[in-house]
Symmetry: C2
Subunit: 277 residues, 2 copies
């Protein structure tokens, strides 16, 4: 019998709530035994909405039989006060950290609501959108002559080794322009990098994956195909390894790594010539 | 003369550092007047790396003439201690919040290092990757008959109104399967939704954009084209509005909104039948 009470967790914000949710997830992952139900409460930017949210928190407490946990990034004190009329464990991210930051910087914070993208961030935002468009336009080897010059990184690896999601994450999170290029049997037969990749050695980063995992992923796409057969996956991965070793391409195994981990590792090895890198 | 000292900000983590960076960015955006240089320090998962990082912090302090600010999600106390041998404003996310959470839950945290994806998260991770593949496979109207049944949301709007980056963000951040479908002049002439969209009215969500902004974005793609002409952008947006109004499609203006804001708003209005929504 499962006698652990379920807890409701609220992510409350005057903006998107993504900061509250990101930190909340990281903290809750430290308690793998606990059972959580998650509720997003974004755009709580006036007192009426905060009062409604407090009511939701009280209802969740009554339903669960234990008080909820609230991760909050509310900036406006009146909304904070309204929220605190309910009973919960409040983990207030701004309250804890804004004070020390103000003291350190000798400046008052703007206390601007919904400030997900500050002034300093708007250029970063533009870079991110451009990088997403770049990743889409240069996915899966669809790059014309000369276009890869603009890439910050070019991911290479066999089909379904994780290149596309990683390219998109690099773009979305960091504004890094990532192209990706599949290594296919024809490349192994020629024993040469495809297309113009030899021109951009410094930007190349290889992804590899365990043959068993690759076969499983490919099975979901094309069941019982030669493409998905374990033997073929072994051959392709082995040939890709040899090619990458010969060409001196740094390589990472994506089998048990998330796109976040792969991206953070790539950023440690490539050079991006923009502020923030 | 600019007499504000530049501060170096470190994002230190035993994992990817993305949590530290997300919270850090939100907090720093509250100080738009300050000048920051950002340094990522991911994968600080042993004492030697923490000692190296402490050295980097001291060097930054010497260079800037002011001590750095450090956002940290280190879990291991020995690495925390090694880091704290340098002088900085330490904003330690786990230290502040793990204690209250342990007390509330009546459980010790695992103190597991690099725990970006906990056990509970691995299913979410799978959903996210599937959703990214789905968004890629159903971008820009490339959906075959019946395939849209699987979508959680279908974004519609004129070309370059923000559908693709929003679809990808919904997938990446929330594991939401988002297809997107452009509304093109032929649709306005026929005065009907394209393809099979009429079958999925409950999943449709419209994006619109100011004509001036749209024209500017399209100019970057195809300078001096009819496609980018302000007059044509006005016509398309107006026609799209009329079509969406007639078909009762909820619609959001993306002109001054980030993909985070658009996505959080969409999630408030659509129904996703999975835990966490």
């Amino acid at each position: 019998m499962n006698d652990i009470a379920r807890r409701t967790v609220f992510f409350v914000s005057d903006g998107t709530g993504i900061t509250a949710e990101t930190l909340g997830h990281s903290l809750l992952a430290q308690f793998p035994e606990a059972r959580f139900r998650q509720v997003r409460a974004p755009f709580i930017d006036d007192i009426d909405k905060a009062i409604d949210c407090a009511t939701q928190i009280r209802e969740a407490a009554a339903e669960d039989g234990v008080r909820p946990i609230v991760f909050s990034t509310l900036v406006n004190q009146a909304t904070v006060d309204a929220l605190h009329k309910s009973d919960a464990l409040f983990l207030d991210l701004f309250e804890r950290f804004i004070g020390p930051l103000e003291a350190e910087l000798g400046q008052r914070s703007t206390h601007a609501v919904g400030r997900f993208h500050g002034i300093a961030d708007s250029l970063n935002y533009k870079h991110r959108i451009e990088a997403i468009n770049f990743a889409m336009a240069h996915d899966d080897g669809i790059s014309s002559e000369g276009e890869l010059a603009e890439a910050d990184v070019i991911l290479v690896g066999v089909s379904r080794s994780g290149k596309t999601p990683t390219s998109l994450y690099l773009a979305m999170q960091f504004g890094v322009k990532a192209a990706n290029y599949p290594l296919i049997p024809e490349d192994f037969e020629r024993n040469k990098l495809p297309g113009e990749l030899h021109k951009y050695r410094g930007k190349l980063f290889g992804l590899t994956i365990a043959p068993e995992r690759l076969s499983q992923i490919r099975q979901e796409r094309r069941p019982n195909s030669r493409y998905a057969a374990l033997e073929n996956c072994r051959y392709e991965i082995d040939a890709a390894h040899k090619l990458m070793r010969r060409e001196n391409i740094r390589c990472l195994d994506s089998t048990t790594k998330s796109i976040e981990e792969i991206s953070a590792t790539i950023l440690q090895t490539i050079r991006v010539d923009r502020p923030g890198f």
